[in-house]
Symmetry: C2
């Protein structure tokens, strides 16, 4: 059965992708759904005392701050800075966890331009320190999420640097990564993969 | 020999504490020297491939952003948010490292008001996950820095909650903590304490 607006138009349940599109100019729209789901997941882990993993705040270069009497300081001029690390980190059973989450609308490959040079360098450093480092890759059109160890991402990055393709083929991700079934609580249970791989 | 200004006044080499005082209204002045020294230390650890430890960006609630054509987005209105975690975290030899750094001008005790409730909760959570969690406490007047395990801070916090004193006595810190000798490179070599305690 269709519901109708007072003007007769059929009511269509808003899709989350539509919401994202509307926020076209919002700096933070890129990867918004994935981000929400990961935040929910991390909140769940925290609440249930499973792990302590947080998203880092967006790095901002503050230029001008106003200090009105009797009220909170207002930042009047600031700029977005490029992050020098990945977005998420924390601790799970003593081990250091570090990851980045990205989305693409592509269905057959994941473009490497989603990552920055210093994120790649950071991942290398984390691996050298024996941290658990990975990426969560979401194919938004087909709503599939994969866990891919950072070491594999580094290999594909290297391939690109040597003149190879600028993306990772989906079948490469399927072969080397782990598909994460979406759940209710937690939504993206990436720690189950870590359990299998590290504990 | 004294140097003199053109007006005859003796030139006094500015002390770092003076610099901090001048920045009285700067949000980030609290713990600035300590912060600088820790950032230098972390950069050293990173450069020398000893550890990957970063300060988290200051959390900011962004309210209004301007997107001028052909130039970078400008944040026009934003507010400082209270951090829900500690300021520093990262990985050292596979282990998760998490700490907060604070300064006081007091010479005989360290006021607990330097910490927030949710930082304390965060530290508890990190300890439960077997992370390495501690605080760096600086007595700025006498320029002494101590490493104190978070578990001890939690005990003192508990004591306060139960009606006890609102600060930690310096001698308690001396007894339970570890004094860090200031160095040149790195300036505050807190990993040496961690080596002794955990490895």
């Amino acid at each position: 059965m269709n519901f109708r607006y007072p003007n007769g138009k059929v009511y269509k349940k808003p899709e989350r992708t539509t919401l994202t599109k509307q926020k076209k100019h919002d700096y933070s729209n890129r990867g918004m759904i994935l981000e929400d789901d990961i935040n929910e997941t991390n909140n769940y882990y925290l609440r249930e005392c499973i792990a302590v993993i947080h998203k880092k705040p967006t790095p901002v270069q503050i230029v001008n701050v106003d200090y009105p009497k009797r009220s909170a300081a207002v930042i009047k001029e600031a700029y977005f800075k490029q992050a020098s690390t990945t977005d998420y980190n924390g601790v799970y059973n003593g081990r250091y966890i570090d990851f980045e989450a990205k989305e693409t609308k592509n269905t057959t490959s994941f473009p490497l331009k989603n990552f920055h040079d210093h994120q790649i360098v950071h991942m290398k450093n984390v691996i050298d320190q024996k941290g658990i480092c990975f990426v969560l890759l979401r194919f938004s059109t087909i709503n599939e999420i994969y866990y891919l160890e950072a070491k594999h991402l580094l290999t594909f990055w290297e391939r690109q640097t040597n003149g190879g393709r600028k993306s990772i083929k989906k079948e490469e991700i399927e072969n080397l990564g782990y598909k994460i079934k979406l759940g209710y609580q937690p939504r993206i249970d990436y720690l189950r993969i870590i359990d299998k791989l590290y504990f």
